[in-house]
Symmetry: C2
Subunit: 380 residues, 2 copies
DNA sequence: CTGTTAGCGCTTTCAA
DNA sequence: TTGAAAGCGCTAACAG
């Protein structure tokens, strides 16, 4: 049915001009309520859907946003930690962000163009295509990493771009991520509440690690504990560096009784090292991570960590991007983030979502009152 | 640079009409060689890229294909098998297929629209959007499962559709998958060569399982071994059914010395059951699976299995889809699969890619000559 | 608040 | 083999 139904047909059936139908379509305020209702009714009745190609051509902008993602299968370097195979970090993060993105976009009129970065060199190639085809009116970038020179170029060309969980912040591009500093603060504060005073920290890379480090210091300072630089090791977010960092800490004359690792992967490494040193977790050493990747609930003992709201990050990023897209359009309608468009290029937009402390076994919180069984892992 | 460059500009610079430029753009044969060269040169020099929106509107078809994928995070039901946490099957399959798809599309002029099926009911909603917006000129569907009624509707409406690894075959829609029967045949033949004569089989669901079952029978017949129906158990592709099927087999008065499971997940289940029965693998019972998901190289003992070429499936599916798209267009150019368009709606198109036997530890092939170490798993 | 009027940049007959 | 001309379906001034 309804082989092809144009705006002309709707106009005729509703007894108005095409421009009026167009106004209704674009939700313009300057339409008589009764007229609008009538038009909407006809559209609904006929099952009218505007032709996107025509809309794009005439309007100069599309109802399509792009999402650039790195390939999940590149590289696939699993590590086996404490009996569990851990896929690369992005396997655990990206699908969840993507679900937030797709579900949110699904609720709008927009469609999603997929730009998969399968190889490092794809980056600039994708940007070239985006610019050339002019198919999308905004771009979402998941986990861009350090290679965002091309993104900046895109952004400066006027394409709205939103970074999700970028690792560096020295860019003007709008950004959605987690409140790293406060999350870290909560984690360390929790360890302090459990009675720890010598708390080691294994740092990661990039800006977010600096934030997490600051959160660590915040908690120490609040408790009046002097920061001891010996207790801070530099890692690189990989499991191995967690092992090494923990080894350095356990080798100290006065080793820490708790370790806060800047991500879960390094926390797993620290767990492994603790085992080598015959330290029980959490009795002899408490361990806390950051991220709450799916596997953290299943290691043994299960890992206390700070949850990053990946789904919500995708969700918020879409909303932010759409607001930027729509406010940069001629007939700009009010948007979720109603920043005056004058501000948008002036100040950096950063959305920091709240993180959440997930208390599990590895911090020893349950030791004092009731010892919870490690049943979480006995799934098979 | 080159803020906006239209076909008009190229025509003027090359001293020809717009229609000639259009002909060159669309690779029409009826253009003078010299003229074509000149036009191409100007386009190249100016860095001209056609406006997709205009192309779509005028041509009635786009250079965009869609890919419908089920969400990776829905549902996330990990199982822990032999010390390794196994994410849901699709986590291991879809990313690889998707890599094949995106890399192949990346080499063409086409872009990829992402339709994520986050919830079962999304299926028909997505089809509605596809039909309504007319944005894509073909659809790739990954692992559609049984819910392909909507797909058939789409297909019958004239949208080219290609199914990747669909589980049922009772549809007219073009399909790309694996040569299940021959793969199974190779697996069982291999067990027979190792001296096994009582070989159990745990079936899965859907058409592909029937194929694999036929391959199992083929190998038995070839070796002159009478099929024993007691040795065939029905499973459902999940780990638990592998456990149960194996338990039924081991409980027989005359149990099998080898088991061919219709997928790797059920093979893992069979391994677990063998352990419960104090049967060593492969000394007491050989186990072979089907799929070669990434984890199969890492279980202990590593699993001998039949590799499905997921990357290639994505690759071939794109090529098939594009050939269908382009041959259904007015100015149909020669395509990879140059099926006369008359045939395309008449006969079912099925592309069966070759599977490959991956011999690892669980079948015992190495027992006779040299005992390979189980070092594959000592990654940590 | 509403209608009229030009296009958006490309494809595609139809003639030449 | 090429060019002229008429749209594809929608948006966006500009008048009214």
């Amino acid at each position: 049915m309804t082989e092809k139904l144009t705006i002309q047909d709707i106009a005729r059936l509703a007894g108005v001009s095409v421009s009026t139908v167009s106004r209704v379509l674009n939700n313009r305020p300057d339409v008589d309520a009764a007229t609008r209702k009538r038009v909407l009714h006809v559209m609904d009745e006929q099952g009218y859907v505007p032709n996107q190609a025509a809309t794009n051509l005439a309007g100069g902008r599309s109802k399509i946003i792009g999402v650039a993602v790195t390939s999940l299968t590149w590289p696939f370097i699993p590590e086996i930690i404490r009996g569990i195979m851990i896929p690369t970090l992005r396997w655990q993060i990206i699908p969840e962000i993507l679900r937030g993105v797709t579900e949110t976009v699904g609720k709008t009129q927009y469609e999603l163009m997929l730009y998969s970065i399968n190889q490092p060199r794809d980056h600039s190639e994708v940007m070239r295509r985006i610019l050339a085809t002019k198919l999308i009116s905004g771009l979402l970038v998941i986990l861009p990493g350090p290679a965002n020179k091309d993104l900046l170029k895109l952004y400066e060309r006027g394409v709205p771009v939103v970074l999700i969980d970028d690792q560096s912040r020295h860019t003007q591009i709008p950004w959605v991520g987690t409140d790293n500093r406060h999350g870290a603060y909560m984690a360390v504060q929790h360890l302090i509440k459990l009675g720890h005073t010598r708390i080691g920290h294994i740092r990661g890379l990039y800006e977010c690690s600096q934030e997490r480090y600051l959160g660590y210091l915040d908690a120490l300072e609040e408790a009046g504990i002097a920061a001891d630089l010996q207790l801070v090791q530099q890692g690189d977010f990989e499991v191995a560096s967690g092992r090494e960092g923990a080894a350095a800490l356990f080798g100290l004359a006065n080793p820490p009784t708790a370790i806060f690792a800047a991500n879960d992967l390094m926390a797993y490494g620290a767990m492994t090292t603790a085992e080598h040193y015959n330290l029980r977790i959490p009795e002899d050493v408490a361990i806390v991570g950051f991220d709450d990747i799916p596997f953290s609930a299943h290691v043994n003992p299960s890992l206390t960590t700070v949850r990053q709201p990946f789904y919500e990050m995708g969700e918020q990023a879409v909303q932010l991007l759409l607001s930027l897209v729509e406010s940069s359009s001629p007939g700009a309608r009010k948007s979720v983030f109603s920043l005056p468009s004058s501000q948008q290029r002036q100040k950096t937009i950063r959305v920091e979502l709240a993180s959440e402390l997930k208390v599990r076994e590895s911090c020893g919180a349950y030791l004092s009152d009731h010892l919870s069984s490690t049943a979480e892992i006995s799934g098979s």
